[in-house]
């Protein structure tokens, strides 16, 4: 892979890393979610480089259009929250785990990207002998064929999962806070007193 694809890759990769760091590093949740939005967009670009057109679109629709908006809604609902003093519990293991993770992942990335440059043979847009459907690789038609063909059952199961998730989210989010409960109780008592 070379040429335009490579430029897009480097640009999108740079942006993705930058926004990812922004997402985790921003103090304000709103800013973090905005960074996440850009991260998602840059990933969609990478998907395009990888001939995953449909998924790039899905990425934009589902993530940018739905998930990030949901995040924003929730942030709005909750409003600014006081930052409490830092909790010391588990600090050591947290730091150690974070360090370890960063180390391992960094090592892998470093190894894969820089240490041994031509690790795997590059693939051109359509490798020789890939077959007639190669041109459609990653397209709506090709992917849709798989989704409604061999992957139909998991596809349907995912719909059930989404349904359950929606119901679950509703049930969880609707729960009363302790103050609400107190208020409810007081109200009932008052009603009982009236009778």
């Amino acid at each position: 892979m070379s040429g335009a694809g490579a430029y897009v890759f480097w640009f999108a990769a740079f942006l993705a890393v930058l926004t990812a760091v922004g997402t985790v590093a921003m103090r304000s949740a709103i800013r973090a979610s905005v960074a996440l939005l850009f991260h998602i967009i840059s990933l969609a670009g990478l998907f395009l480089v990888l001939h995953a057109q449909l998924l790039a679109a899905m990425q934009l629709i589902v993530y940018a259009g739905a998930v990030v908006v949901l995040f924003l809604f929730v942030i709005m609902v909750l409003g600014p929250t006081p930052d409490r003093s830092a909790d010391q519990r588990g600090l050591l293991i947290r730091a150690a785990a974070g360090g370890l993770m960063a180390l391992v992942m960094g090592a892998i990335s470093f190894a894969l990207i820089s240490f041994a440059p031509p690790m795997l043979p590059g693939v051109t847009a359509c490798p020789p002998g890939a077959g007639a459907e190669c041109g459609q690789f990653g397209g709506v038609e090709a992917l849709g064929g798989v989704l409604y063909g061999s992957a139909a059952l998991p596809f349907e199961l995912v719909s059930v999962l989404l349904l359950v998730a929606v119901l679950g989210a509703m049930a969880v989010a609707r729960g009363h806070s302790s103050e609400d409960r107190e208020a409810l109780k007081a109200k009932k008592l008052a009603q009982a007193g009236e009778k």
């Binding site: 588990g90 293991i93 947290r94 150690a96 894969l112």
Partner: protein, 998 residues
Amino acid sequence: MDLAFGWDFGRALIWIVLLPLFGALVNGISGRWASRSLVRAIAVGSVAGSFLLALACFVKLVMLSGHGEGAEGTNKIVNVVYDWFSVRVGDAVIPVRVALLMDHLSGVMTLVVTGIGLLIHLYASSYMEDDPSYARFFTYLNLFTASMLILVLASNMPLMFVGWEGVGLCSYLLIGFWWENPTYAAAGKKAFIVNRIGDFGVLIGMLLLVGTTMSFEFSDINANATSLLIPLRLDQTHSIAWLTTATAACLFLFLGCSGKSAQLPLYVWLPDAMAGPTPVSALIHAATMVTAGIYLVARLSNVFLQSPTAMAVIAIVGASTALFAASIALVQNQMKKILAYSTVSQLGFMFAGVGVGAFGGGFFHVFTHAFFKACLFLGAGSVMHAVHAHGDADLRELGGMKKFMPVTRWTFLLSCFAIAGFPLTSGFFSKDDILLGAAYMGTGPWAAYPSWVGWVVFAMLAIAAFMTAFYMFRLYILAFEGEFRGGPKHGDGHDAHGDDAHAHAHADPHESPWAMTLPLVVLAFGAVTVGFLGLPHWLGLPNVWEHWLEPSLAALPVTEGAHVSLAIGGTAMGVGTLAGLGGIGLAYLWYIKENGTTPARIAASVPRLHALLMDKWRVDEFYGAALLRPMAWLARFAANFDKLLVDGLIAKATSSLTLLGGWVVTRAQTGVVYTYSAFMVVGLAGVAWWYLVPHTGLEYAVRGTQVKLQAAAGLGYEYRFDVNSDGEFETEWSTERTIEGSYEPKDFVGGAIVVATMRPGTREREQLLEGGHVLAFAAADLGPEWQAVAPPAANAPPGTPGTSDDTLPGMSWSLPVRDIFLPYAPRGGEAHSATLEQAHGLLERIVGGESAIDIARARATNDEQRTKVGLVANEDGVDGHVKLADGTEVTFEAGAHTALVETSRGVHVVALDPGELALRPNGARVRVRGADVTQETHLRPGEIAQVGNALVRAAAVVRGTVEVRNAFGYTVRESVDVVVRPDRPADEPAPNAVRGAQ
């Protein structure tokens, strides 16, 4: 001759036992509701019936022995009731039968038990008249009679043991008859437990006897007694050389006897046993049960004769007991207590008698003693009845009883004469017999028996006899002569129990009713007269007693010419008579003439000795401190140990550990979500790490000497290989992960074989070889000819030939590895002595890891045989030297050097020629290069030997190595040892495998 009114006397025998038993059962079950007269009728009637039956049987026995003298089986009446159980010793099944036997010995004893038992039952029926537990008393008493009869009539030891423990139980119950008094109840318990200690001895003695004589029957044991003259075995292999089984068994049995018959050191229960009602004291603790020990010794007289040591011990213990108990009796003030110690003392006489070999004499004393001691006890009971004393009668509150109760007085006096050995009374004769026996032993007629024992015993017994006469007449005089010292204040200290049978007060002492006096008269008559059954032999008088018991008792193995001379007899009788008369005279002098002033003066002059005697030498206190207290402490210790240590360690400690473990693990459960996630991430990182380090995953495939190696694939992996065993990599780094290598003989690193059997369903097998391997084949592989070739004896590896099952020996293999020594067959040559450690070090270096010596040593340990290890220089080898593990160098003159491991099972050695496999046929038919071989033959790599129907191919081991490097430059290396199969050498003909099995 059939006297028997058509009776089956054997059948009668069982009824002698069963009648009192039924009496006990009936009274025990229905006695509570039955009237006293009915209880009395059943109790006395059953014993009377038993006595009559016993008498009939005895008469029959007399008849039998009168006619069939000497013939086996005519001197006894036997009744085998049923088989109880059986015991196996080795392959022999030894039945334990419920079988009764009346011979001359048990016949006499049966008569004593039933006869005197009858009199005492009669006496007790009146004596116990006022007791609320009348029926219970007779239940026990009848049960006792039955048990005693089982003891006496049993024809074997276990059945005797039934009676032996049965009388112990009854004694326990009867001593504690008035159990509401805690002292009495404790006395009962004490009696039972002390008796149990004795029973332990009987049990062990019994097992020792049966283990050697292979029978429980008295007759067989006596007949085979000489077989006991072997060292005492502790198990199948250990034994004690200086102790014969006979001595051990006799001493254990004597422990039992001394428990039952109240000898030192187990006599302590008997004085306490006087807590029971007086008839009990008379019957059980004077006339019958306590003589069971002497009876047992007499029963097994032949066994005891096998052990002069045990006999001497018995004699000395008996004499000591006689003296010891008599000394206590001198100063006691309670009537029954004096009689009790007198009983202990008299029992000592009896044991001294049997101990010096006078079985007849000792047993004669049992017989006469039964009469006069029963009479004395019953007399004492009669006195107590008269003065309403309940537990015992204190001499200080008696006196002048002859005025009130003449019958009791006269019978008591006669019995006193008898026990004192007044001439021509029964005690005179029986005691004389014992003294005579002791004196006779002193002259040393039996070489094995220490003669000094005889004289020591004689002296002790003479003193004891003097004391006996003295204290008995002291007792008589204080109780019956002089003035009555008692009064209304009687019963002091005895009314602890609430239901005193004699609570109603009488004004004066009175003579007892006929049911009590009649037995007294009969017994007193016997006490005076029965002595004439055993007139002294040495005076030429007929000794009916000895003659009668002769078939049942063993005779001393006296040396030739030893006999009782007139002098010995005279000495014994003279000393005995003097002792008796002296004692009586002294008592008369001190208590009638001087009215007790001298004894009081003497007591005052040695107050501490007197107090010691009054306290019975404080033996009970000593036992309490020396035995009971430590035992109780041990028991408390055990209980606490159990609670604290055992339970603490096994239950509490483990549970606390578990709890602690749980606590530690729950520390990780902080409840804070991100600690959980942190743990998760650590796990993830671990998984990632696995991808970071490279993995070899080396696999191989072999074809001939071609080996194909393949390493695992991985992202960014590079590989390089070594395919000729030398540890150097032939290829450069590349991403190619497979390689094929061809190995030549120079690349071989070790020996191996490939075994192919012809049997269907078996697969070819590869095996790496190490020094000393023996390859075993199944019989089917070897075919019928495998035995045809005899194994070379010198080379036979241990433990292989002749194994029973389907695995048979084939041949042994050895490993030729470059430049190293492996054990080899010794072909002469000088043996260098080297320590095991040196050789071990050598072999360890050679073979690597566990060496042949380990195996040889393990086997040697297994065989409990010694192992010898040396280094042997072989003549037809090359020079060399070996550096041992400890750094010393051992140089050999010449030859291929051999480590030799020798065990008792044969020499086990392994060869050491480099480059080849050494094959040593070992009982199998082996063909190499078309010819049968029996000697060691070497196979070059690829050559095939035919063993029976199986083929064995000399293969080789090669080594392949891969090194893997990943993107980070990490490298790992893995080697694999592969068995390769070189081609057959061109000059070797193909084996013609016998494919018989297919």
